[in-house]
Symmetry: C2
Subunit: 262 residues, 2 copies
C-alpha cells in the first residue's frame, strides 16, 4: 500500500481486509493512535488512570457512550471494530487472540479509548532536521520498564514504560522544545542521561522493541510510552479488553499539527 | 537597601550615590540588563554581532540615537550615565577605570546596548520550584569559555561563554521548557551533560565566577552567557567602551513576564 493514500482511504483498505500490516510511515502528517477498549465497568477507572498519568496515557479521543463503535470526532466513518489492521483480545488479562476485526466479539458495554502515539512527535522531530535513530536503523523503538510509578487509579497501577532515542545534547534540548508543543502525544521527555537514574540497568537490553546504536557524545533521551497503559491493563486483568497489536494503529483524520498546543 | 523598593526608587538611590553594590536579588520581578556602550563607529558592528548571536547577546533595549543617555523605553527617567551602580571603562580594550558615574566621560557619539541577563530566568526557575545552585550556595554562577564559535560580525568575534547550573535530568527538561519562553534572556540551554563536548576540560575550574557543587545524579546544564559580548569587546578593542561591572546591572521597569514570548 502506498503512503499517498488518505487516512480515509487507508481505513477503507483495512476494513476490506486488504491491509493488515504495521502502520508506521502511513498517512504522513496525520495522528495515529493506541487503542484500549474495555467494559464500562472498568472504563471509569481507566479514564481516571489516564487523567492522572497524561504523559504515558494521553487521550486523543474516546467513545461518547458505551457500545458506540463510531468515532466521528477522530475521522470520517471510523468504525473502531473494523478499521484497525490488527487487534489483540485479552480475557482476564491474558492475550487470547489476535484478529483483524472485532465485530464478532463487540459488546454493548464497551468503551473505546484512543491514546496518542510517538509517531506524531517523531514526525515533528524529523521535520525539524533531527535524526530518530530507530527510524534510521529501521527497527522498533527500544522501550524499557522504569522505576517511575504511575499514579494509581482504582484497579489500574504500575510503573511507567519509556521509549528511548539517543541524541546529541543540543538536539535533545531541541527535542524538548518540539515535544513540549505536543502534550497529547507524550509531550516532553521524562528523562535524559544516566539510565540507572530511572531504574534501567542495561540500555542495550530493552524490555520491548529493539536496541539501537548510541554513538559517542550522545545521551539517551527517554519519553513516556504508550506501552504503559497496556502494562497497567495486563496487571489489572479486566475480564475483557481489546487493544491494537503493537505498531498496528488507528489512523485518524486529525492533522498532527492539530495536537500542537502552541 | 531593602528589596522592597521599586526599580525607579532603586535607580534614584544609585544615582544619588547611596548604593554601589551588586544588584542580585533587588527589584524582584523586573528585568536587569548587561550594559555595553561604545562609539557609533563600532556600534553597527556590535549590533550585527548581537543580531547574529542572539543567545549570548540578546538585546532588550538600546539608545535611539548616538549620544542619547535617556532610555525611556526601559524605565522612567533612566539616565544610563548615572543609574548603574558600577561601570567599567575600557580604552583600546584595556580596563582602565571602575567608576560609579560616567557623566564626565560621556560623548556625543556613544551608543548604548542593554542585553538580557540570567537574573530573569533564574527567577522563573525558582518560581517554578527548581533549585538554582549558585543562589543556594550564595556564590557567583560558574562560567566557562567553550569551543562554540560565535558568528563573527565586522570586528567582533570569539567563542561563546556559558554559565552552568547543575540539575537532575527531569529539572533540566523543565528548565528547557521555562527558558524557551524567554529568548531575550539567553533562552533555552545550549548544552547539557558532558562538559568536554563543548570544550570544557574541568567543570570544577570555571573561567569566571565560582565553582558550585554538582551532586550525584545531576547533569551540568549550560546556558549562553552575557560575558560572551564582553569577551568579544575585549578582543575587538574599541578605542573607548563602557560596560557595567559584573553583577552591577541596570535595573529596568520591565516586568520579567514582559519578556516571555508565550
Amino acid at each position: 500500500m502506498t503512503s499517498e493514500l488518505s487516512p480515509f482511504e487507508i481505513r477503507q483498505q483495512i476494513r476490506a481486509g486488504n491491509f493488515t500490516g504495521n502502520t508506521s510511515g502511513l498517512a504522513q502528517g496525520f495522528v495515529q493512535g493506541n487503542l484500549a477498549i474495555m467494559p464500562k465497568e472498568w472504563a471509569n477507572d481507566f479514564l481516571l488512570f489516564c487523567q492522572q498519568n497524561p504523559k504515558p496515557c494521553p487521550i486523543v479521543g474516546m467513545s461518547t457512550a458505551p457500545g458506540d463503535f463510531l468515532l466521528n470526532d477522530l475521522g470520517e466513518d471510523i468504525d473502531i471494530r473494523r478499521d484497525v489492521p490488527r487487534y489483540r483480545i485479552y480475557r482476564d488479562g491474558v492475550l487470547t487472540e489476535e484478529v483483524q476485526d472485532v465485530s464478532e466479539v463487540w459488546r454493548d458495554d464497551l468503551v473505546t479509548f484512543v491514546l496518542g502515539c510517538s509517531f506524531s512527535f517523531e514526525e515533528a522531530l524529523i521535520a525539524d532536521g533531527l535524526e530518530v535513530r530507530n527510524i534510521t536503523e529501521g527497527v522498533n523503538v527500544p522501550m524499557y520498564r522504569t522505576n517511575i510509578a504511575c499514579k494509581p487509579a482504582g484497579r489500574f497501577h504500575g510503573n511507567t514504560v519509556v521509549s528511548m532515542r539517543p541524541m546529541k545534547a543540543a538536539d535533545a534540548i531541541r527535542a524538548v522544545q518540539i515535544c513540549t508543543r505536543f502534550p497529547s502525544v507524550h509531550g516532553a521527555p521524562l528523562h535524559l542521561g544516566d539510565p540507572a537514574e530511572i531504574g534501567i540497568s542495561d540500555i542495550n537490553k530493552p524490555d520491548f522493541g529493539d536496541a539501537v546504536t548510541i554513538k559517542e557524545g550522545e545521551l539517551p533521551v527517554f519519553w513516556a510510552c504508550g506501552v504503559t497503559p497496556q502494562a497497567a491493563i495486563e496487571q489489572a486483568k479486566p475480564e475483557f479488553c481489546i487493544t491494537h497489536s503493537p505498531g498496528h494503529m488507528l489512523i485518524t483524520d486529525l492533522p498532527n499539527s492539530r495536537l500542537a498546543v502552541l
